[in-house]
């Protein structure tokens, strides 16, 4: 893995982006990143180009989890269809009451003492 892909996201000037990849052969955008090969067209590692994916998209589904063998519960898992294509799963921000099809965006927050990329309803741009 190249140095810029060691973490799953980066924060630059307060804006979070996911460290995905784009296949230069077929255009597929993928998250999480890997350098094994493209699952759509089979292109090798040389065709997999790091791509910073805006942490913004549409809420595809969600679940409030009440049981887990190691993590404190409850917490809410979101499934987000990123504007760049991939369907990713992430934690919900603690104050977010999710509804499917919400516009959501991600930012870094501390969860159980560790930094996490969490999503919540996108701030509505001022008219």
């Amino acid at each position: 893995m190249s140095a810029e892909m060691t973490g799953l996201w980066s924060v630059d000037s307060g804006t979070a982006r996911l460290n995905g990849i784009r296949c230069s052969s077929c255009g597929l955008v993928l998250f999480p990143p890997q350098l094994y090969g493209c699952p759509a067209c089979g292109a090798g590692p040389g065709e997999l180009i790091p791509a910073a994916l805006p942490a913004a998209g549409r809420l595809h589904s969600f679940a409030v989890v009440n049981l887990h063998p190691s993590h404190p519960t409850p917490y809410t898992i979101l499934e987000v269809e990123l504007d760049s294509g991939p369907l990713v799963r992430a934690l919900a921000a603690s104050n977010f009451d999710p509804r499917i099809n919400d516009r959501v965006e991600g930012h870094e927050a501390q969860v159980d003492g560790t930094p996490q990329l969490v999503f919540e309803r996108a701030r509505v741009p001022l008219a």
Binding site: P32, A40, A63, N66, L67, A90, N101, L117
Partner: protein
């Protein structure tokens, strides 16, 4: 690629199980031998007649099959262990069917045996991890699918829970089931939900057990004097793995493709089926898969369920064994157990849970990968 229609006919001639149950002190060898001995007795043959064996196993480990089967007599037969996640047993069955259809053997055993234990996971070791993979255990994965289904089709948590009411009712009639107790809708829905709207009784209990089936060619049937009326023909065998499906759930996409592969192989379609055993590890799966298989129109599975279409005696009995939710899901045996149940139904030997007049049945498992395996069985004549 060839299909079973182009090869030698293959029949299930013997079935046996060790009941699925909560993990116990009982050794896996005893679980497995119980199922195989019952299958041999059901077929009316002795162990030396078996020329080849495939053993579905995920959790016991290396060489579990040979270490177990030697106690039936070390006859030197070919033995291979098959791991394909939750579809391990289904894949063992497919390998046995292919071997007999291809003429390599006339008599083959497919079985599965397992006990809960630590999982050595290929996907985990691939090292490609998302943001929250460790927080999304299977019931949360399926809770996400449940929430989406409710949003898309206006279904309610009560309607989804009714899958578990039906399958517990069936499991209560099955002496091999891990859960043999009828449950009311209130009991199924009793808080707390483990994830989303899914409660404990809407999730499969993973336990231990074993299942075995013996398959034969017509030559094998003639040689061993098998009662032809109790031989159930395997008329289609289909298996697939992942293709990228965008935001459409991969198990649903895979189920649709694999099932329709199987339909094409034998010229049967959704209206021809009497009994179906499918991978209902979580209630939502039954609804998603009956739609993907064509037994309900998209979004109408809950209405069909509530109308009794999927009951024993309904339009098509879905999981008359109790399914993974009530019969259980010991992993390695599960797909073989489905074949045993469909065979029992097509022989009209299922007693109080018999679907009247059952002639055509389907078995379906999905597994981590994702993979999917579907078989179609038919009573000759």
């Amino acid at each position: 690629m060839k299909t079973l229609a182009e090869l030698r006919p293959v029949y299930v001639v013997g079935i046996g199980l060790h009941p699925y149950q909560r993990p116990s002190e009982k050794n896996y060898v005893l679980l497995g031998l119980t199922a195989v001995r019952e299958a041999l007795a059901d077929a009316g043959i002795a162990w030396p007649a078996v020329q080849s064996a495939y053993v579905g196993n995920v959790l016991v480990g290396m060489a579990a099959g040979t270490a177990m089967l030697r106690y039936l007599g070390a006859t030197g037969l070919s033995i291979a262990q098959v791991e394909n996640a939750s579809a391990s047993g289904s894949t063992a069955f497919r390998q046995a069917v292919i071997e007999v259809a291809g003429g390599f053997s006339d008599v083959a055993l497919a079985m599965g045996v397992d006990k809960p234990g630590p999982i050595a996971s290929g996907p985990g070791k691939a090292g490609v991890r998302g943001l929250v993979d460790d927080r999304v255990v299977p019931f949360t994965h399926f809770a996400l699918l449940t929430q989406l289904y409710m949003e898309q089709h206006g279904a309610t948590p009560e309607q989804i829970a009714k899958v578990a009411v039906k399958n517990h009712r069936n499991g209560a009639l099955n002496p091999y089931a891990q859960r043999q107790q009828e449950r009311t809708l209130e009991e199924v829905m009793e808080p707390p939900a483990v994830s989303g709207v899914l409660t404990r009784l809407q999730c499969t209990p993973v336990g231990e057990g074993a299942a075995a089936v013996i398959v034969m060619s017509e030559e094998g049937i003639a040689r061993h004097g098998i009662e032809k009326s109790r031989a159930i023909q395997v008329v289609a065998s289909a298996a697939r793995s992942e293709e990228l499906s965008g935001t459409l759930n991969f198990d649903v996409a895979l189920t649709e493709k694999t099932t329709h592969d199987a339909y094409r192989q034998c010229g049967l379609g959704p209206s021809d089926f009497d009994v179906v055993e499918l991978h209902d590890a979580f209630t939502i799966e039954e609804l998603l898969y009956v739609e993907a298989m064509g037994f309900s129109l998209p979004g109408e599975a809950v209405r069909d369920l509530e109308a009794g279409a999927f009951d024993i005696g309904g339009r098509v009995a879905i999981s008359p064994s109790g399914g993974l939710i009530a019969m259980g899901h010991p992993i390695g045996p599960t797909g073989v157990g489905q074949v045993a149940e469909v065979t029992r139904q097509l022989r009209q030997e299922a007693g109080p849970r018999q679907h009247p007049g059952a002639r055509v049945g389907l078995t379906h498992m999905v597994g981590v990968g994702p993979v999917c395996v579907v078989h179609i069985l038919q009573r000759p004549g």
